[in-house]
């Protein structure tokens, strides 16, 4: 029953709630990973130098490294699979405006444009709620949209075919029909 309902969402534009929740998960994951990384570096430095190493979180260097890390986290995720960990959890994916797979160049543009959506009280994110295609500023700049797409697998018997059935989602190799 749930799978039938899930199928009806596939390929449609993802809305504000899914995107906000996935962003919250991504933020938690990326900040957690960054904190772990800092702790690991501190521990390693302490072993090598013998002195206690602590990070000033408000220093420019740390903030700069954090910004680069965040951009790398989102950029690499979008470029490789079109989705971050949070997006994978909520079953959404970044694709091109015509529904085809996102290429690394466009993912890089989206990543660079991403911070601009947060300027002026997150004005660039209003498009997710108000826009017809739920596109934020960075989506418009990169020519991308976010859609629902999670791998629904039909129930199969033990030892059955491992190939999932075709989904109504966007094909990854279809010719571009215009962004």
């Amino acid at each position: 029953m749930t799978s039938q309902r899930s199928l009806s969402y596939q390929g449609h534009y993802a809305g504000a709630v899914s995107r906000l929740l996935s962003f919250a998960v991504d933020l938690a994951v990326s900040v957690g990973a960054f904190s772990l990384g800092l702790a690991a570096i501190s521990y390693g430095a302490q072993i090598i130098t013998g002195n206690l190493v602590s990070w000033n979180r408000s220093s420019g260097v740390v903030v700069g490294i954090f910004a680069v890390w965040e951009l790398a986290y989102f950029g690499c995720s979008w470029a490789t699979s079109g989705r971050t960990a949070g997006m994978a959890l909520f079953g959404i994916r970044v694709v091109r405006g015509d529904g085809t797979a996102l290429e690394p160049g466009r993912a890089a543009i989206r990543t660079i444009a991403f911070p601009f959506s947060f300027l002026f009280c997150c004005l660039g994110l209003f498009g997710i709620v108000l826009g017809r295609e739920n596109r934020a500023l960075h989506d418009v700049i990169a020519g991308t949209v976010v859609i629902y797409e999670w791998g629904i697998r039909a129930p199969r018997a033990r030892g059955g075919s491992p190939n999932p059935p075709a989904l109504p989602g966007p094909p990854s190799t279809a010719p571009e029909a215009g962004a």
């Binding site: 799978s3 969402y9 390929g11 709630v17 529904g99 709620v129 859609i147 629904i152 989602g169």
Partner: protein, 162 residues
């Protein structure tokens, strides 16, 4: 009165007398007989050997016989507690090869499949709920702005293909 009636009137007292004499004689003979001694002389095994029990059983309609039995009444008379108390459950349990049973059941696979299925169903349900919330928000925004939503990219791509 016919000659036949005359004859019957004459023989009736004789018949009654003969009846009384016969009864008296039978009583005397039965009283004199030792039934136990007679029964002891009878070879019961020889009689049983002569009887074809299989032929007798073939003539018996067991279905009709069983149909007439009131099984509920029969079972209600059985003291199940007394019956169960006589069963040595420990000995019975010792005879069961649990390891072989577990091996045949492949519990690991069953647990992995069921837990994986539960997780998948839960995530699927969460995704559907958030998607539904998205739709509600989109619906209200569309109503406020009085507009129609365009087709999703998947459908547009499908239409663009030859």
């Amino acid at each position: 009165m016919s000659p036949r009636d005359h004859f019957r009137r004459a023989t009736n007292p004789a018949e009654a007398l003969a009846q009384q004499v016969t009864e008296r004689v039978v009583d005397l003979v039965v009283g004199a007989l030792d039934v136990n001694e007679i029964a002891a002389r009878v070879d019961v095994n020889a009689i049983i050997d002569r009887v074809d029990i299989n032929a007798v059983l073939r003539k018996v309609d067991l279905n009709t016989l069983v149909g007439q039995l009131d099984l509920n009444a029969l079972v209600s008379q059985v003291d199940l507690n007394a019956l169960v108390s006589q069963v040595d459950v420990n000995e019975l349990a010792q005879r069961i090869d649990v390891a072989s049973l577990v091996e045949k059941a492949d519990l690991g696979t069953i647990i992995a499949e069921s837990s994986g299925g539960i997780v998948r169903e839960t995530i699927d349900a969460v995704r559907c709920q958030t998607a539904r919330l998205d739709q509600v928000i989109d619906h209200w925004v569309d109503l406020l702005l009085r507009r129609k939503r365009p087709a999703p990219p998947a459908l547009r791509t499908a239409r663009a293909e030859p």
